[in-house]
């Protein structure tokens, strides 16, 4: 028998700012966060736009000593995790190096907090120092700031989480697969509570140059706020975003015993690989379709039960078409009754954190019965035959929703969330 797993806390740092509620308010407002890049001077780059966390001051959120030993991606993870734990009623007071853990046995709570790229600023900064002055110029904190697991690792240390703790990496599906893996860990009885999510801070000259050279990024530099346009006929690539999101996943009986209110049920997880191409989806979205079907089967729900889909919707020509084909293949005529949105239209593609931020948005949509608009949908591509919510938020009676994430490397991750009732 499968243990029920619920969501009892949410935390986020996004291009709308700090906080899950801040994210949700921004999505309902339908405001684009894309701007000219300020993290470095993008002059001369084919792509000069991104979605940045505005005015983020890590020293205002975290102790100085901690800020100095982590990369920005881990700073985002730490802030999001603290919010999520506080929301779940599992964090004591204080904002120091250590935050007291309450309400759960420390050995029975862990983390799967992912990153797709990890400490990119640490790597590029220290590599420059190496080239300029040799190995003795490289700082020792690189050894703890660079690795992809250190967002989750530092969260576990700060909050005293002694249970299973590691990162799951599958490019743009990392956080989706991470949340699914955390679900499996609770089901397997290895933990009662898991912090699951992702963090990414990859608005960096090297990543923007490389992903740009691959043709993956939008070049609409003169109109950044119109660049991310999932499912639109004029889409030309994604806009890179940064930030983090963390969900507190909890065994249903454990939450009930301590009187914690579930925000949603995490009903299922489906995972597959296209086994086709490193950067292109399998034709007709067959790999994604398999993940959708597996997620439904795992959740016990039928295709006709799905009311809402938070799509991967990157605004690249290949993904949006393949994803639409996958949806049609799985849901048939019921596809027309699934209200679709792409969070990436508003906050860009958070890469290894995307699946987590979008899971937060999915949980909030279920809780409030509203689907935020997918921005910049001026002319929907006929090849993207979905009911995409446009212009204004749409109230939808919903009980079950899916959140999809597909990554370079052929990775497909689908999560099924349901109302707690």
């Amino acid at each position: 028998m499968t243990h029920g797993v619920v969501v009892t806390g949410l935390g986020a740092v996004t291009p709308y700012g700090i906080g899950a509620q801040t994210l949700w308010n921004g999505l309902l407002e339908g405001r684009s966060t894309a701007t000219r890049i300020t993290r470095f001077d993008p002059s001369g780059y084919p792509t000069q736009i991104a979605c940045e966390v505005p005015g983020f001051d890590p020293f205002a959120c975290l102790p100085r000593k901690l800020v100095r030993q982590v990369d920005p991606f881990a700073q985002f993870a730490l802030v999001a995790a603290r919010e999520a734990l506080a929301h779940a009623g599992l964090a004591g007071a204080g904002n120091g190096m250590r935050v007291p853990l309450v309400g759960v046995d420390p050995e029975r709570i862990g983390t799967v907090i992912s990153s797709g790229i990890g400490g990119m600023r640490e790597m590029t900064d220290q590599f420059a120092r190496l080239l300029d002055g040799g190995p003795e110029r490289v700082r020792p904190y690189l050894s703890i700031a660079l690795p992809l697991n250190m967002g989750g690792g530092q969260v576990a240390i700060r909050h005293g989480l002694q249970g299973p703790s590691f990162s799951v990496v599958s490019a743009c599906a990392s956080a989706g697969d991470g949340i699914g893996t955390a679900l499996d860990i609770i089901r397997a009885g290895r933990a009662d509570v898991m912090l699951a999510g992702g963090a990414e801070a990859a608005i960096n000259p090297l990543t923007i140059a490389g992903f740009g050279a691959a043709g993956a990024l939008s070049r609409r530099n003169d109109e950044p706020e119109r660049a991310s346009r999932p499912f639109d006929v004029d889409r030309d690539g994604f806009v890179t975003g940064e930030g983090a999101a963390v969900l507190v996943l909890e065994r249903e009986s454990h939450a009930a015993a301590r009187g914690a209110r579930p925000l949603a049920r995490l009903a299922g997880y489906g995972v597959s690989n296209d086994a086709y191409h490193a950067a292109q989806p399998s034709p007709g979205g067959t790999g994604a379709a398999r993940a959708l079907r597996l997620a439904l089967r795992d959740s016990g729900y039928d295709p006709v039960d799905i009311d809402h889909c938070n799509a991967h919707g990157t605004s690249t020509p290949p993904n949006d078409a393949a994803e639409s084909a996958a949806m049609r293949a799985v849901f048939g005529s019921h596809t027309d009754r699934i209200a679709v949105t792409s969070t990436k239209s508003a906050i860009g593609h958070l890469l290894g954190a995307a699946g987590a931020v979008e899971a937060v948005a999915t949980v909030m949509a279920l809780a409030e019965g509203i689907v935020p608009p997918s921005l910049n949908l001026d002319r929907q591509d006929p090849a993207c035959d979905l009911d995409v919510v446009r212009a204004t938020p749409r109230p939808v009676e919903m009980r079950v929703a899916v959140s999809s994430s597909f990554g370079f490397g052929g990775h497909n991750a689908v999560l099924v969330f349901a109302s707690p009732g």
Partner: protein, 93 residues
């Protein structure tokens, strides 16, 4: 104490000036482990241009020990290869 050392202890580790007593134990009073000490050395080299950690076998227990080691290194004056801190278009964050 060399103000550059005091500044770095505050900037890197958030240690306020009032906690900088020579007798303070690096590990138990100031929470500076061996990794932190090496991090500090690299930062001191950036700021002074002088090679630190030349007598690597000396056991540093207290802040006074650390300060004395820094003074010895400065007196020896071996150059550390400096890293250019300012580059076109790169903002320090």
């Amino acid at each position: 104490m060399d103000p550059r050392l005091a500044d770095l202890l505050e900037d890197l580790f958030g240690i306020p000036e009032r906690d900088l007593r020579p007798g303070a134990d690096l590990e138990t009073d100031l929470q500076l482990d061996s990794l932190a000490v090496v991090e500090l050395q690299v930062a001191l080299e950036d700021v002074t241009g002088v090679r630190m950690g030349v007598d690597g076998d000396v056991d540093l227990r207290t802040l006074g020990d650390l300060q004395a080691a820094v003074e010895r290194a400065l007196a020896r004056g071996e150059p550390a290869i400096p890293t250019l801190n300012l580059r076109e278009g790169e903002e320090g964050r």
